[in-house]
């Protein structure tokens, strides 16, 4: 009996040296399952659930960014709502005032929104853990009150009649592709030199500084990356509903990604994405229970934290790596 993953892992770390088709299949199977699975789901559900899938995609991007910052940089960022709001408002305003099509507004909002979010977060980058979490949680509230107080950007009413996407299929596959591309890009990134430095910052930022690395510069880049995911989600969202308003800064965007990450498995990157695709439809399905919905939702989360704190993905990964095969001696 031999464990399937051992021979692959022993040969080298990080870089896989494959020697047979079966080993390649062993590594590829879960990845293909995820990609094909995610791309195929829209064919099996109706229009209503397709819409739910779109918003699940947005949460997946946020959860991915949250997991990346928390587990690979050591910044617990509750600024998801701020990313969504900034991206959404930039895209919506460009569309409303300058009549730019979504094809143009979304990329602009992704980059410009991330730049703005990063700029306001830079002064807080010295903080760690819970302190950074509290500060980043404040920013969406801050933005909401500025918009109300100054009555700019549509004030409390918001702005409606923005351009929407021409078809549901474009909506679906735009967000699903974005999720898959960012997932694999970030998985790649955390094993590149830059990712290794970021993980060093998380483990021991003093030693990184003593090694001649400017940790603020690296943290800034990491926040920019996570903010890009959120701002893309926000820009997409405002075009999805053809409307922008204060609810883009809703607390859900900051909180649900944490729940998705806990459920899916901290640090696995895939887990949070999966968690978002489970939690968002689940919260929709529970809508029938009215106020009880939140209770059920909480119970599920508590159950996860108590009985499976490692999360779905870490559990599955462990089990998958324990598959064994018979070997001729």
């Amino acid at each position: 009996m031999k464990r399937l993953d051992r021979s692959i892992k022993v040969r080298s770390e990080g870089l896989y040296a494959l020697s047979s088709w079966s080993e390649m299949a062993y590594l590829l199977a879960p990845r293909l399952l995820l990609i094909v699975g995610l791309l195929a789901v829209p064919f099996f559900v109706d229009m209503y659930w397709q819409r739910v899938l779109c918003s699940a995609g947005i949460y997946a991007l946020l959860a991915l960014g949250f997991d990346f910052l928390a587990e690979y940089v050591g910044l617990v960022c509750l600024g998801g709502a701020f990313f969504i709001g900034t991206g959404g408002y930039i895209a919506g305003l460009l569309n409303h005032h300058f009549h730019l099509p979504p094809l143009v507004t979304i990329p602009i909002a992704t980059v410009a929104g991330a730049a703005i979010s990063t700029l306001v977060l830079i002064p807080c980058l010295r903080l760690r853990g819970i302190y950074f979490a509290i500060i980043s949680f404040m920013f969406p509230l801050f933005a909401v009150f500025i918009i109300i107080a100054l009555n700019v950007f549509g004030g409390t009413e918001g702005i409606s009649a923005l351009d929407t996407f021409p078809s549901i299929w474009l909506e679906l596959y735009l967000i699903l592709a974005a999720v898959l591309v960012s997932l694999f890009a970030i998985r790649r990134l955390v094993n590149e030199d830059m990712g290794i430095i970021l993980r060093g910052v998380k483990d021991n930022d003093q030693a990184v500084r003593a090694s001649g690395i400017d940790i603020t510069a690296y943290k800034t880049r990491a926040v920019f990356i996570a903010a890009m995911l959120g701002c893309f989600g926000g820009a997409y969202l405002s075009h999805l509903y053809g409307w922008l308003g204060l609810s883009l800064f809703a607390m859900d965007f900051s909180i649900l990604p944490i729940a998705a990450t806990v459920m899916g498995g901290m640090g696995s990157l895939v887990g949070p994405v999966l968690g978002a695709f489970i939690l968002t439809p689940m919260s929709e399905a529970l809508r029938g229970f009215g106020q009880l919905r939140v209770v059920l939702y909480c119970l599920i989360l508590i159950a996860f934290m108590v009985y499976k704190p490692e999360g779905i993905m870490n559990f599955l990964q462990r089990k998958y790596h324990q598959f064994e095969k018979w070997e001729k001696v």
Binding site: N204, A207, S211
Partner: protein
């Protein structure tokens, strides 16, 4: 080569609230030498390291490295000039494998600027450095997660992290502490070799016997003040040093 000081510290002072951690301390580290810093617990040795490497800003005083004033520079800039340190409390990047720990310094501007930084495969360079500090090549150790390594390897890893930066000065904050005699005696040749290669070192140490074998000169601190400086033999026989360590004799 008297007078060729690579690191020159003068009139350094730092207080934390009411505690005067370092008071008017000044000394020089000569190029290619090992300077030992000793003193009882709480005498300000680690604070001194933090001051020199920029982790703590001094209240007063001046630190010259290669003639350049580095007193107000942040730690990463000082490290990029070629002055780095080890930490007393071992905290490797525990989630990374040992050789990946060295990827961090190998990505510093200092290394990237140098010719060695352009030699392509960073992972291979990292493994070479680990071998240099005593990790067995071809063994599994360099690939193990740093969090699982025993203390002896962690100390070597810490030195490896410094060497990777190709520094001119390494400040070692108690590299011998917590190691067995045999581990220490295997570490000494490594330090001697580094000195031969021209790296100057400052060693904060409690293991006096081993330090006196290595060091060219010793500085003694008590309560944040320098009370003695000189060759190991001279310091060992200094009455004030004996009193600082053992207390004064009182006649009953």
């Amino acid at each position: 080569m008297a007078g060729d000081a690579i690191l020159k510290i003068s009139k350094l002072s730092k207080s934390f609230g009411g505690v005067q951690a370092i008071m008017n301390v000044g000394f020089e580290l000569e190029r290619g030498q090992i300077l030992g810093i000793i003193g009882p617990n709480g005498s300000g040795k680690t604070t001194l390291v933090n001051l020199i490497t920029g982790f703590v800003k001094p209240d007063k005083g001046e630190i010259l490295f290669n003639g350049k004033d580095i007193t107000a520079l942040p730690p990463h800039k000082i490290a990029n000039l070629g002055l780095t340190r080890t930490f007393q409390v071992m905290r490797p990047y525990h989630s990374l494998s040992a050789f990946k720990n060295l990827i961090v310094p190998l990505n510093s501007p200092r290394v990237k600027r140098s010719a060695a930084g352009k030699l392509g495969d960073v992972d291979a360079v990292a493994i070479d450095i680990l071998e240099e500090v005593g990790f067995e090549r071809d063994a599994r150790v360099p690939y193990k997660v740093a969090g699982s390594l025993p203390l002896g390897y962690l100390k070597r890893l810490e030195l490896g992290r410094c060497i990777a930066l190709r520094p001119e000065v390494i400040i070692c904050d108690e590299v011998f502490s917590g190691l067995s005699m045999s581990e220490i005696s295997s570490l000494i040749p490594l330090l001697e070799r580094l000195r031969m290669e021209g790296i100057s070192m400052m060693m904060i140490e409690h293991r006096l016997r081993e330090l006196f074998r290595l060091a060219n000169r010793i500085v003694v601190l008590t309560f944040g003040q320098k009370i003695a400086e000189g060759s190991p033999e001279a310091v060992m026989n200094n009455q004030m040093v004996k009193e600082a360590y053992l207390g004064t004799e009182t006649k009953a």
